[in-house]
């Protein structure tokens, strides 16, 4: 299986078993309060960090690639094909294969996450750049804007809605896929879920609370991006 962070406790994270906990009732607030700072919060922070780093790097690469294929149309096909192929690799498979290369390190976790965000972001950025009405481009050139100026002052701002839409999808997907990363090691909110699942009697409260945090994290990022869009895109 995967390597755990230390000797596995027989009843992990149960802490001082209250009646609720030992009885494995549907949801025990006491447990949540007690273990917020040692279990839930650190994993939440890890999860958030992983997501942000992966999407940021994925975005940087996708952006560079999109600009390249915007200039040289011929590049688009090959890039799209490679992207499509990457997307077909199931996340579990990707993580396992990468373990062979970089062990149980952050790299193993990040590379597939970066790959998947890249694959989502690239087509969106390209589509955004292509969505600029040709009349606008013609007017911009005719007015004497240089190529670089047309890109930064006209094309990119107009591509923003599509880019942000892509970011939303990428971020939400990454939050979800990052839970699988827990199979590589103690990283992210997938880990508490995973541990709680493997018990002879799966521990409901831990699963539900970690799960709720995952969903909440995704929602929070999504709302943040929506707010960003509203702030930046004022013309529609």
């Amino acid at each position: 299986m995967i390597a755990a962070g230390g000797p596995e406790p027989v009843i992990p994270n149960f802490g001082h078993g209250s009646a609720c906990v030992t009885g494995n009732h549907l949801f025990c607030w006491s447990w949540v309060r007690e273990h917020w700072s040692d279990t839930l919060e650190p994993h939440l922070v890890q999860h958030a960090e992983l997501t942000v780093i992966a999407v940021a790097i994925g975005f940087a690469i996708a952006f560079a690639l999109a600009l390249a294929s915007h200039r040289v149309r011929a590049l688009d096909q090959p890039i799209a094909i490679v992207a499509g192929l990457i997307y077909t690799i199931p996340s579990l498979v990707a993580f396992q294969i990468l373990i062979a290369f970089s062990g149980l390190s952050n790299t193993t976790v990040l590379v597939p996450l970066i790959g998947y965000s890249l694959v989502i972001l690239y087509p969106n950025i390209v589509a955004g750049l292509r969505s600029v009405p040709p009349g606008v481009l013609e007017a911009a050139r005719g007015m004497g804007l240089e190529r670089r100026q047309v890109l930064w002052r006209v094309e990119l701002p107009l591509a923003l809605p599509a880019i942000i839409a892509g970011l939303r999808i990428a971020v939400v997907s990454t939050v979800a896929i990052a839970t699988v990363a827990s199979l590589v090691g103690d990283r992210g909110l997938g880990y508490p879920i995973f541990l709680a699942m493997r018990l002879p009697t799966p521990f409901k409260t831990e699963i539900y609370s970690a799960g709720a945090l995952v969903v909440a994290l995704a929602l929070a990022f999504d709302l943040l991006l929506v707010a960003t869009r509203r702030a930046l895109v004022r013309w529609t």
Binding site: M1, I2, A3, Y87, T88, I89, P90, L92, V93, Q96, I97, I99, A100, F101, G103, L104, I169, V172, S173, V175, A176, I177, A178, T179, V180, S182, L183, G190, I193, F194, A196, M197, R198, P202, K204, I207, Y208, G211, V214, V215, A218
Partner: protein, 228 residues
């Protein structure tokens, strides 16, 4: 800590060797996975298709339909599996249900988009000719929506097949049993099983694509929008 085999190009080839050495075993596992996936897809589609088609026909509930896919993307498969594990216990059923939930997203969204997107002129003409709603659905809307419907099913199928390995941690069986068990099967085995999963996904995609081509008539090939 488990000692991991360090990788090089050789190791990747070892994965193929593993497949060669244990064809029966892997085939059995693959079959298990297909069973699970098939059942999940079946249930998911059985639920999502009617709902999607109905909503599309009535041209309502677009937020629900689009939202289904978004939620599907956002819900981590592990979470779904874990939740149903707690509700339904360990075994086949809980994983089937969890994967079925995953499958509904693409199917519903595409079913909706397919039926909703049928050219209004065409449906107006059908109504004008005196077709009842049911007749219009069966003879006009569904045939025209078939490409998108099928694509939704294809996407759902591949999603399910590709996610099924994770179910192994909740007793789902299939190739996932090997993939999450590097201790027993070594890196070779894991890689071999990984290749099999990818081959399975591709195979399912192509098989359904062939089926789609066979089933849809020529006049209805349209630009496919759908998820992914």
């Amino acid at each position: 800590m488990i000692l991991l085999d360090t990788a090089n190009a050789h190791t990747f080839l070892e994965g193929f060797r593993f497949i060669g050495d244990h064809p029966g075993f892997l085939a059995h596992k693959a079959l298990e996975q297909l069973e699970l996936s098939g059942a999940a897809l079946g249930i998911g589609a059985a639920v999502a298709l009617p709902v999607g088609v109905a909503l599309g026909h009535l041209h309502r509930g677009s937020t629900v339909a689009i939202g289904a896919s978004i939620v599907g993307r956002a819900l981590p498969s592990i979470l779904l599996i874990a939740i149903f594990l707690t509700i339904l216990g360990i075994g086949f059923v809980n994983n089937m249900v969890a994967l079925a939930v995953l499958a509904t997203g693409p199917v519903l969204t595409n079913a909706y988009a397919g039926v909703d997107g049928v050219d209004r002129d065409v449906t107006d003409a059908a109504r004008g000719m005196g077709m009842s709603r049911l007749q219009m659905l069966a003879r006009v809307e569904l045939p025209l929506a078939l490409p998108l419907l099928f694509t939704g099913i294809r996407v759902a199928a591949v999603t399910v097949v590709a996610t099924a390995p994770i179910a192994a941690i909740a007793g789902g069986g299939g190739l996932g049993d090997v993939i999450v068990n590097q201790a027993s099967y070594r890196l070779q085995g894991v890689l071999g099983a990984c290749y099999c999963v990818m081959a399975l996904s591709a195979g399912v995609w192509l098989a359904l694509l062939a089926l789609q081509r066979f089933v849809t008539s020529e006049g209805t090939t349209r630009r496919v929008a759908g998820t992914t």
